[in-house]
Symmetry: D3
Amino acid sequence: MKIKVINPNTTWEMTRTIEQAAISVKREDTEIVAVSPELGPASIESFYDEYLAIPGVLEEIKKGETEGVDAYIIACYGDPGLQAAREVTSAPVIGIAEASMYMASMLAARFSVVTVLPRIKTMLEEVVANYGMGHRVLNIRTTPMCVLDFERDPIAGMEMLRQEGRRAVEEDDAEAILLGCAGMADFANDLEEELGVPVIDGVVAAVKMAEAIVDLGKKTSKHKTYKFPEKKEYIGMLTSFGSQ
Amino acid sequence: MKIKVINPNTTWEMTRTIEQAAISVKREDTEIVAVSPELGPASIESFYDEYLAIPGVLEEIKKGETEGVDAYIIACYGDPGLQAAREVTSAPVIGIAEASMYMASMLAARFSVVTVLPRIKTMLEEVVANYGMGHRVLNIRTTPMCVLDFERDPIAGMEMLRQEGRRAVEEDDAEAILLGCAGMADFANDLEEELGVPVIDGVVAAVKMAEAIVDLGKKTSKHKTYKFPEKKEYIGMLTSFGSQ
Amino acid sequence: MKIKVINPNTTWEMTRTIEQAAISVKREDTEIVAVSPELGPASIESFYDEYLAIPGVLEEIKKGETEGVDAYIIACYGDPGLQAAREVTSAPVIGIAEASMYMASMLAARFSVVTVLPRIKTMLEEVVANYGMGHRVLNIRTTPMCVLDFERDPIAGMEMLRQEGRRAVEEDDAEAILLGCAGMADFANDLEEELGVPVIDGVVAAVKMAEAIVDLGKKTSKHKTYKFPEKKEYIGMLTSFGSQ
Amino acid sequence: MKIKVINPNTTWEMTRTIEQAAISVKREDTEIVAVSPELGPASIESFYDEYLAIPGVLEEIKKGETEGVDAYIIACYGDPGLQAAREVTSAPVIGIAEASMYMASMLAARFSVVTVLPRIKTMLEEVVANYGMGHRVLNIRTTPMCVLDFERDPIAGMEMLRQEGRRAVEEDDAEAILLGCAGMADFANDLEEELGVPVIDGVVAAVKMAEAIVDLGKKTSKHKTYKFPEKKEYIGMLTSFGSQ
Amino acid sequence: MKIKVINPNTTWEMTRTIEQAAISVKREDTEIVAVSPELGPASIESFYDEYLAIPGVLEEIKKGETEGVDAYIIACYGDPGLQAAREVTSAPVIGIAEASMYMASMLAARFSVVTVLPRIKTMLEEVVANYGMGHRVLNIRTTPMCVLDFERDPIAGMEMLRQEGRRAVEEDDAEAILLGCAGMADFANDLEEELGVPVIDGVVAAVKMAEAIVDLGKKTSKHKTYKFPEKKEYIGMLTSFGSQ
Amino acid sequence: MKIKVINPNTTWEMTRTIEQAAISVKREDTEIVAVSPELGPASIESFYDEYLAIPGVLEEIKKGETEGVDAYIIACYGDPGLQAAREVTSAPVIGIAEASMYMASMLAARFSVVTVLPRIKTMLEEVVANYGMGHRVLNIRTTPMCVLDFERDPIAGMEMLRQEGRRAVEEDDAEAILLGCAGMADFANDLEEELGVPVIDGVVAAVKMAEAIVDLGKKTSKHKTYKFPEKKEYIGMLTSFGSQ
């Protein structure tokens, strides 16, 4: 099967990291295609970046419809555009936040998320609430590092995650740690060993969820919410998103 | 004061309807500027349309920053891009869904929303939950008419709203009706008279909320969630959304 | 338009402070009438005071019906008697707690309340829950000062608010501060400047909400919950509250 | 032990009915004193009546402090003034709504409330939410009969309760019925026999709860929320409620 | 009346302690029979123990049906098997957690639970949520002592409860303390005196609730959820739990 | 990898059906071992059956620890004993209810459950709430057929599911259907074709989730909640569940 992993930001170094993470856990017969959109922000650290990354994500989904894609993964922890993506394809589309939370829920009763800048906290609180995970999430821990800092200085990144991860276990009494950013997969295994609790990276969780769903031949429901969008005109730069 | 009302879709006939509604309730010293973005969908009836309307909304906010705008209104009932919009300006930004719900809460204990196509229901349920209004909203009633149908055939539109509005009062025991689409302002007064309960149009509610907040000199908080976005590169069609 | 601001306690010095706050933000064509009831407690710091302030509030509303009042404000942060007040008039009635929370929600994603004595905390928690604001309110911070202490010793009051406000920003990461008592309006602007986040006083927020609603000609819904009370006999001191 | 049952309305016929219900279940060594306040409404069917009944309730609690009362019951289904009552005494104070819901929760997984006029529904929804019983209560069923109608025409009252009770069992699949008004105790046993599910009258539930708590020597907590009210001046008709 | 108190663990010393607590508060005409099951764990400190204690509890309920029992109490703070127990008898069955929380709710607005090992916290959080008490419970405080430690070394146990109880009052601002284990009844009175807030032991609370319900002649509802189990075959060690 | 599927009831015909369902979706390199416990009920249709099935489930988990099992599935829709099972192994343990709900959440915004007897409804409502899925589940639809009826008369079973499934789509507007019983896997595909929405069987969903988690090498967290149970004595029939 072919899984298209969309890194909603346009930093291809990060896309490569994500691709490596995805490939490292895929089954032999799974093909991973990891891409960044051709438009949008270099990283996502605000609602502004989040929403402006979505056109690129949707374009990649639409392209995927002619590329024989069996499932899509949106590889950014806010799951940007997830519900819209489900409208434009009948293939399953999986967000890394939801994948990580559902997987964590099958391994641990309570957990904490460790993520990037403090400003992202409100967005993740809403994500957690929308997935019904409010009673499971003990804390959303932020760091002073932005998304690309983890890419640029992985040693400092690891140290930061170690620090907050340890505090999650010791202060929150967290039973698992969720890495709240797509580029952190590299750190998961080392961190897990150090902290002694499951450390879940959303990208790898999502790859396995995608394989699971595709194996079953399940498709996105086209009844009510995720019906294909109504045909209509789009104008300006977004003309190509419309349909006649 | 100058209030910029952004109709997130690109149908200028609807923008004119919205503008008229806004002007009809503004104070003498308030200037209303109603616009549609230069890019995006002709109407919004799915998560797809919703998200793809946001770049246009954000562009209009950014333009507004050099136009002496005192407050912005996002005139589509899903409040598309509201949180991102708050990041790019320190002027207040008000969504018509939130404005209508807060105003309704000061006039009625329980209410129902009447809106367009059934597929929009999940989106509005999430909006209601995010605003903490779940205990107040009795029902979200949909119609078989899409957004532009109300524009094209106002007589059928009025009849449909009358029908669902009446059922809201009789079956839900609704104490007020919220019109769940920006283009419905014209119908509000007649409907209110007929049904005998407050009928709230979001656009006019938002105009008054904007005047209220600007009068007080209050600005969007720039602490944590709504800080200005981090400077970063954007590519492709969205290059202009980046900052150096 | 004429707005009657009812300070539910009987301390006229405080009523004057509240009146000044209201006048300072009213529009030119708005008339503010601020009163204390002729019966009831000198201040409200318990459920006991809260409930015993309500007869006076309702009497003032009833008087208002012959005074050409267009909207009422209940100026005590527990919004005492708000729902009953809505039953006895078809004019809008606005509580300062609801007004401040709705306004804050349009300016900040998360906020904290700073109020008087610790015993008031449970009451405000219930108010917050009833308005669906539980996910927005980070903390309800109390002080060792009672209501009238702020009146008597404004310098100490300001210092106390400054202290708790600063802790709200630094410890709760609050994006706005709500002043949880009607007599604190004087402190709002200075505090806002100092803390760098919006500081919302409920009285001024309520005045602007009232103007907004009256401008639109909206009335309290008389369907179901806020119907006029059934006619019936009242006895004892409260005989005048009955109807034949 | 001496239990003072306060019927918050001033209709002594109803107080006698309540007293009979209380006496019919009390233990031999329990003394029941049932009273109506000397001030207030003849019946309670709105927030207006609810709040205006509270001064009378509080006066009766205060009188009780010199009458050797061991526990108080507030016998109206909205539990009017319950939290204030707990402030003015260290004896336990029990509301009939809470007593009936807690007792029902020990006998049935899900239940419905049958009560008087439709307008009361919002009030009872808030009561249910404040007691954390939202997941247990299937429906709040109203009737076209007001409080005193049940007193005046018990045959019609019984028929109405039978009808709504039956629909609660058949349509809601209710496992118990709660009688949402103090004057309905007489109907409970017959109804229970007819419907085949527990029918809980709040007055008798509260009497037994009161005996239970007094037996244990438990008192209302005087830490934080229910501390005695601060000493302060009251004026007008309510002067006697103040303290010097 | 005859109340059968079932200590779900098989440590008879603890059953004796529980029996003493029950007897110390029972009414003269109440007979207390306290038992441990003939099968199951010596103590309950995990979901594993919890579930494996249930067959013994159910066996004791079934035996009770021929022993003239009027009400049952399940004396372990997780209320193990409570809903199943309600299926096999029409007598009331009361859990000590629910009894203590309902009683506490009539005496204090907010409270904390003090219990045994940290691992039990998730279980109690679920119990609290299922009873709708999430808004009342400030904290679930654990200790490093296991269930039987309190039995073996009551002096250390008392010291531990004193410590955590004091922190509950001082740090959580708790208005009452709930003892989250059946064997702690002995400590309640001393602790209450020391801390100055109600300290509620579930066993004594449950005895009084049972007396209250039996006095009223109320039975467990046999409609829907708590119907007698369907007749069916059981095999292996549990053959005797089946019916032909 | 080896997945042990535990049918908590002792009806081996049903276990074979479940095994077939599991085998039909497993990957080539996955080994499925499906068992019924040696003790317990022939079917599960009450809390009584639910709890009495758990000892058998736990015994099978314990046996599995020496059988080289990589993951366990509990194949009954109430997920009986799931949390206890997680305590006794470090291998992942997956319930079919949670697996089906998490999978459905990635394919459909809102869904309904179709299950067996009405009495099971409360249990499933609690399961849904504990998994945070209350906002997604539109309805829990019951049938007059018990668990084994579906085994004995599959034609009637299919008809019943078709009927309720259709009503779920038409009346609830459900976007997916969850089969609320382990023995219904056979019906899923036909039903899905007929209804045009995803029909999710928990057993097959759980098999794929198990493969996903085992692929990643993730284990149940042994921090706090799911630590191995404390060593202790068990007596009677359950002696073998203890440890020295």
